[in-house]
Assembly symmetry: D2
Homo-oligomer: 309 residues x 4
């Protein structure tokens, strides 16, 4: 297997839903087109921002099939294969393969208490069962395990992992990972940050790209950061990122006393996507709670402030 | 819905597997018969001890169907419906209902960051969609959320929850839960401890029963604790529990530096079950690691010390 | 050194303060007399309930000297020597020794990231520098390290530790500790629970006694639990403990949104102590926040419900 | 009070000790001179790198007095006033004031369970009692509380805090803090990163400076990052930072199975300082464990690789 090279801005697409919580494929197609028109370099479906944890398997399948069909080869499609342990993830890998995804994104085991030797085996067994490249998804806030840097680099060196999406929030660790990649000559191993708040910093450190949840709302902004960085205008990249920091305030309008931070963030992303005309319905899957009218108004104001309405 | 009354020793059955990780139904049937002959008052399939997090949905279904068929109404069959959020759990509920389970066991949402108001909604929506009683499964080590006591009692008062299996390790909280039940007159709400190490203590506090993982290895021991307690011989109950504390040492023979605590415990349970003739194959699902020969020998010795070989 | 035997109910005394946060020694003396009249078997000063973390060294010294003088040998006086690392704790040991304490209570290192081998060295060095018995204080909520059971037993076997106060909330671990003590024949090693909610359970498991914070408010209740247990009336012990569970509700009247759980609990203890006439002033040290009038009223009602006013 | 402006590279000085764990003032003076010759813009004594948690009060006082005397006004001297709660910290403030420190550095309360409203009161009371500027020290790894960003900014706006040293590892939060400072016009409020691994990134985000522990070993390297940044040569700044990333490997030569991460890091810093001739003795305070000969050799090699020997 030779890993294709992945790079640039690859937003983790939210999944538009109907009121019965089936996938609104028309909205998903429209959203994808908005993303591609904005210049994104790939799309990542069935990540945490997609409500992957909330979607039944049948709906997950619809998401991948729709995305692959709509993207139609214009950019790579990465698909999250998010489940608790090896055999369950392996089934999602088969679905993603059959649906035509270009790469799969896999976390460490969760629910169970795990161990580095088990995480190692997990990725190796999954790799043995697929032709597609596998990205490790380092997301301790969800799986409660931080991927060990040396393990990730060893799996990369052995061709098990094609890349990593680092959503751990550990910037120093991220830097060591990039350093380790360089020292081991793992040029084809792709390193992405999952933070929408530090994309310019991550690119400056040598990351290949970013998977910004807020890119659902403002893909063009993230593409501009990327372009400014490529042309060496780091000041403009920083200004753009800082505008997006302000925009990220939409994820905080619903107070922690009322709902979980997931509900607040995904509800805000979807509300903003609807306000921008990307999707028809901002509903989120249960048991997430909806934003109220006052909160929606604040989101509208923040979109306007950021020049998006 | 009137909740049936659940009480006594209800072990969370391990799932015997073939080398290809499909369910060894013959061993499962034999294991169930050993359990019932030992006098257990119910069985709980697809709990954490069953490797529920490791089993694909089709294998989960086989487990419930086999258990319901083999138990044949002799005792209640509780089935874990373990998944990340409401819609996914709802699908497992349907499977469990169709397979003839007597009650379902459901955790708080996980992978996603959740909130008490969302956990509340989660259980209410699931209850709305089923005729079967639902037990809350309080297991922070797996889902990283402790169920709020007041929430559990409110859901019990509203008939949403028929019971709780408390594997939180918070004995003071467990006692407050029992106190709250008594004060609110929720007599039909069943409260079980999930700790195999404190069954006598839990019964003394007023618990209805226990779901002891170690009961896979020595069901008769736990039934004796229960019987001693019922006849008022607390000293004998304690002696029996303390023998089982020693036996629990089998879960520690594999060192933490070599494998996760889940692998070590489930591998030990299955090895001991095989040594006792309950099942044919002690294999555990990937990415769990196997015990080595030296560790198996230690388990054998501990079984002998405890009078089980 | 031969360790004196410690056993029974040894409340961790709150420290009454003047408005300038110096120790109100007259109230402390009166409080100690109330405790001894209630039949407690020892007193523990400068534990977490004493606001030891809030008291400057000079005030700590006043507390020990006052307590030793007032107790006047009627029961043992244990003194908390609570600080971050070895050299700092050693200075508190010297103060406690000079003041005439009968035993010292010491936690694992904190603030710094520590390790079992360092905790081992910590206790050994402290033991080398004193003639007095040392109790380990296992309180992860404060020091963010759980003492390893095998380490505690090894230190006990070597005569480094004379006992342990287990405030870890890990009842299964507590049971294993008691089992380990029995198996190693460490009869003079004293094991106390720090939970005021599980004293009857702990005694049933074989603990030597309890260090109940709520004993500041109702020492006689805890002495009754102890006496009922000694006479074999476990039902009466349980009833008494359950009354005290209700009384413990005083620590919850101030809502978590308004203040920390420490402020809420210590403020409630002191308010109740004042209402019962044990001390003159319920002030707590900064930056703890005071209870408000409404909250004080609720505490009064709970004291009345529990028959204490 | 008008806060003096603090900026640039301000290393948190290690404290050289004699074998009896008293401060080796001659080495401390020499170390300070090495630092100042390397061009640092301030020194921070009694931070976590200084073993402040290990030093008795008398030794802490010697450290400040020696540093103030040796620095002799050439750069500002910041002094950590690290203790559990308000009254205890207030005593350290008095000592630091008397010794002539230019600013004090204070954490949130620890050991006790705290609350934002209490942290707010803590800093306000301390500010009321001193003329000197107070820096908040955000170090969750030690105190187990993350300072709330809005609270820090509000305290800055009210003149309570003169600055913050952010050792939380939360780079996104750090960025929001810098953004909040800018939006509120809090120009004199100094924001420092405590990470030695992200100094170039932090400066690029707008930080005023850094407090790098590794600066004890290679102050000139950090000064070069700062200078490169000021002259706009971000590539050179990054190269220098990446060399220092490699050098940071000295903190990992002692394995986690053998000692705590604090022992490993502070032992390595001191060993390297001794090898470079800054100090005479690399001993660390108990209960920290010493590095062994093999580990010291590895440190020597890493110093040589980094061009420092």
């Amino acid at each position: 297997m030779t890993a294709p090279k992945f790079a640039g801005i690859i937003p983790p697409l939210c999944t538009p839903l109907h009121d019965d919580f089936t996938v609104d494929t028309a909205s998903l197609r429209r959203h994808i087109d908005f993303q591609l028109e904005a210049g994104v370099h790939g799309v990542f479906v069935l990540g945490s921002s997609s409500e992957v944890a909330f979607l039944p398997d049948r709906q997950r399948q619809v998401v991948i099939e729709t995305a692959v069909d709509q993207v139609a080869g214009r950019v790579p499609v990465l698909a999250g294969c998010i489940d608790m342990t090896t055999l369950r993830v392996a089934e999602h890998l088969k679905t993603a393969e059959a649906a035509g995804a270009d790469a799969m994104v896999v976390t460490a085991p969760y629910y169970t208490r795990t161990h580095s030797a088990e995480i190692d085996l997990h990725f190796r067994l999954l790799h043995d069962g697929t032709e597609l490249p596998i990205f490790a998804y380092d997301i301790p806030v969800a799986v409660h395990t931080k991927l060990d840097r040396q393990l990730v680099l060893a799996l990369a060196a052995d061709g098990v992992l094609a890349g990593v999406k680092d959503s751990s929030g550990d910037e120093a660790g991220f830097r060591f990972l990039l350093k380790g990649r360089r020292e081991r000559g793992l040029d084809s191993f792709a390193v992405f940050t999952g933070s929408e708040l530090l994309v310019d910093s991550a690119l400056a450190l040598g990351a290949d790209g970013a998977v910004p949840g807020l890119g659902n709302v403002d893909p063009a902004g993230y593409v501009r950061i990327h372009d400014h960085f490529r042309t060496g205008d780091t000041a403009a990249a920083r200004r753009e990122q800082e505008r997006l920091l302000s925009l990220f305030g939409i994820t905080d309008v619903a107070p922690p006393a009322r709902m979980g931070r997931g509900s607040a963030a995904l509800g805000a992303f979807k509300a903003a996507m609807k306000m921008r005309g990307f999707i028809d319905n901002a509903v989120t899957a249960p048991p997430q709670l909806p934003l109220n009218a006052e909160e929606l108004l604040q989101i509208k104001e923040k979109l306007a402030e950021s020049g998006l309405l």
